[in-house]
Symmetry: C2
């Protein structure tokens, strides 16, 4: 088992990574201050891993709330179920919330922890590739609003994160690929040698080779930790983590959350960012092709939904959090391994990218 | 106009206090970073002060959401109206939310600011005595849950607070008194000489003498600022600010929020805390009588609702945030001007206090 420390002053916390972590009680007990624990999970993950987690929490009073599964349920109604469960079982400020599941469970349990009685302790047990490399570092929690994704939330750090790579064996292939999209992102924005490692090894990740998974997840978490340590509240460099996300969020909003997985939308979005970076004169054509090839090998989409038109992107991107007083800014690439945030691009180039994503003649 | 600084490192902010502040554009402009502002107010305050505030915000793009008035509306539905308004008018992370109204408006607008896009800027214009001396310092924001008051919220500091004592002239007498309850609280928990000043001057506050108001509000805010500066996240001494609140919250929950004003419930609660402190052997009988006399002169209740029984208190207090793993702790008084947090009291003494509050024979 590896231990990676996220250094955020008095909000620092460890990430435990390894095959079989979930069964190690010591990963949990030292991070729980009271007697009561509330597990938040969903109806898919609960039958697979709740019993194992409860064993690791022996000695605590454990309650559990099981939410419906899916991004479509990342809303106030589900959040409200967590608050109801906490209050009905009289959980005090001393309680600890443990998120067991993917990004949706983590985001909701985290926001519930941030706002229940103005903040209680929070542990994360991410069970998808995406949540292991993304939400395990950074403290972003949120729910969706009908008018936009992640619009209501908080920056709130967990006390510890426990990543069990064995839990990925029950994950649908499509979700494995969606998680790899975020892993590729770290190579693209800050680490060309990791990108090259991925060009050598991406099939091992798709096939759930445990050694490759531990390496890629650790590298991704360490990369994200560096960025978040430098910029906890997303004032500067942290925005780089949103490569592909402005386009991606528009795709998810268009599809009504659920038809496209987050990582799939980000994959198409990264491809669009790469194309726009090329038109801006930064990326070379060959770099764009290397990115496309790697995404395809990871079984990821490189275009948007066929029924989504350029106007749909424009309309939905206006609601993105990175809109600065009306003007859409993008995270683009200077080269593979180096990102930049900018609103300096030609509207005609953006149109061309959107037409290509929609498979329209340019 | 006075300026009081709340010192919280990079979260420090000024409180402007004076007659006519609301008309001073300079109190606002330097604290607004973007072009857009969302005023959050209610249907009672809007017709009285919204136009004046808009004048002070000339030059900004100003939207406004008007909520129903009352503690009964401090819930998710109202919060949701704020999010809807922000998203429908495409407010970005650069927006500033301005709360214009009492504690309910401030708590909701503050929590909306804390959680909209994971945090946007927030200015407070409190228009009641209670909110001027209470919510203007401390960064507590929240909404109620059917099972408990202020159960969902955040610690979130405003960028500035603008207190216009003239705005109290439109406040119902009952609400003026309710606010004075919190002013008296500051004397009780840490400042015996302020308590003595109140024994000399309480009628001037009831009569809205502007000079007395500015002095009492400034003294209260400064007192609360000292406490909050020492303990921003309520780990220790800050709990003293909850004198009377454990009993008071039970009263408010019992009455369904609205029948009793918060300050009225706190007044009865402080009297109960004083009685329990006396039975514990700390306060003298004569101190208890001085407290009762001052509260009565401020036109405040010194007993609980006639229809509320000791069992109702027990049941509802179990849900209080100060319950530490099941045991109810109270803020009590060692003497006038000195508070203590403790769970060391005889159950029989608590029963006796609750029977007295319910006007039952002891």
């Amino acid at each position: 088992m590896l231990e990676l420390k996220v250094e955020l002053g008095e909000r620092s916390y460890p990430i435990y990574i390894g095959a079989g972590c979930l069964a190690m009680a010591e990963c949990f007990a030292s991070h729980i201050k009271g007697r009561k624990v509330m597990i938040v999970t969903n109806e898919t993950v609960s039958p697979l891993y709740e019993a194992q987690l409860r064993k690791s929490l022996a000695g605590f009073e454990v309650d559990c709330v099981v939410l419906p599964d899916g991004e479509a349920y990342k809303n106030w109604d589900s959040l409200s179920q967590i608050f109801d469960a906490l209050l009905e079982s009289a959980h005090s400020r001393q309680t600890t919330i443990v998120a067991l599941g993917g990004g949706v469970v983590g985001d909701m349990a985290g926001f519930a922890a941030a706002s229940y009685q103005r903040g209680v302790d929070f542990l994360q047990v991410p069970t998808t590739v995406l949540s292991q490399v993304d939400s395990s570092v950074g403290g972003k929690t949120a729910i969706n609003h009908p008018l936009g994704k992640n619009m209501i939330g908080a920056f709130y750090q967990p006390k510890a994160v426990v990543i069990d790579t064995l839990s990925l064996q029950t994950l649908p292939e499509r979700e494995v690929s969606a998680g790899i999209a975020e892993i590729i992102k770290y190579g693209l924005i800050r680490d060309v040698s990791f990108f090259e490692w991925l060009e050598e090894n991406v099939e091992r990740l798709v096939d759930l080779d445990q050694e490759a998974l531990v390496y890629a997840i650790e590298t991704s978490c360490a990369c994200k930790a560096e960025v978040v340590e430098a910029d906890e509240l997303e004032g500067g460099v942290r925005a780089h983590l949103n490569l592909g996300h402005t386009f991606g969020h528009a795709i998810e909003a268009f599809c009504g959350y659920g038809r496209w997985l987050h990582g799939e939308a980000v994959s198409a979005g990264m491809m669009m960012a790469a194309e726009l970076s090329y038109l801006r004169g930064d990326l070379t054509k060959s770099e764009v092709e290397r990115i496309e090839k790697l995404l395809v090998r990871a079984k990821l989409p490189v275009k948007g939904p066929v029924d989504m038109q350029p106007d749909d992107y424009h309309r939905l991107m206006k609601l993105d959090k990175k809109v600065l007083d009306g003007r859409v800014r993008f995270v683009l690439l200077k080269t593979i391994g180096q990102a930049v945030v900018t609103d300096q691009y030609l509207p005609a180039d953006l149109d061309s990218v959107l037409r290509q994503a929609a498979s329209l003649p340019s």
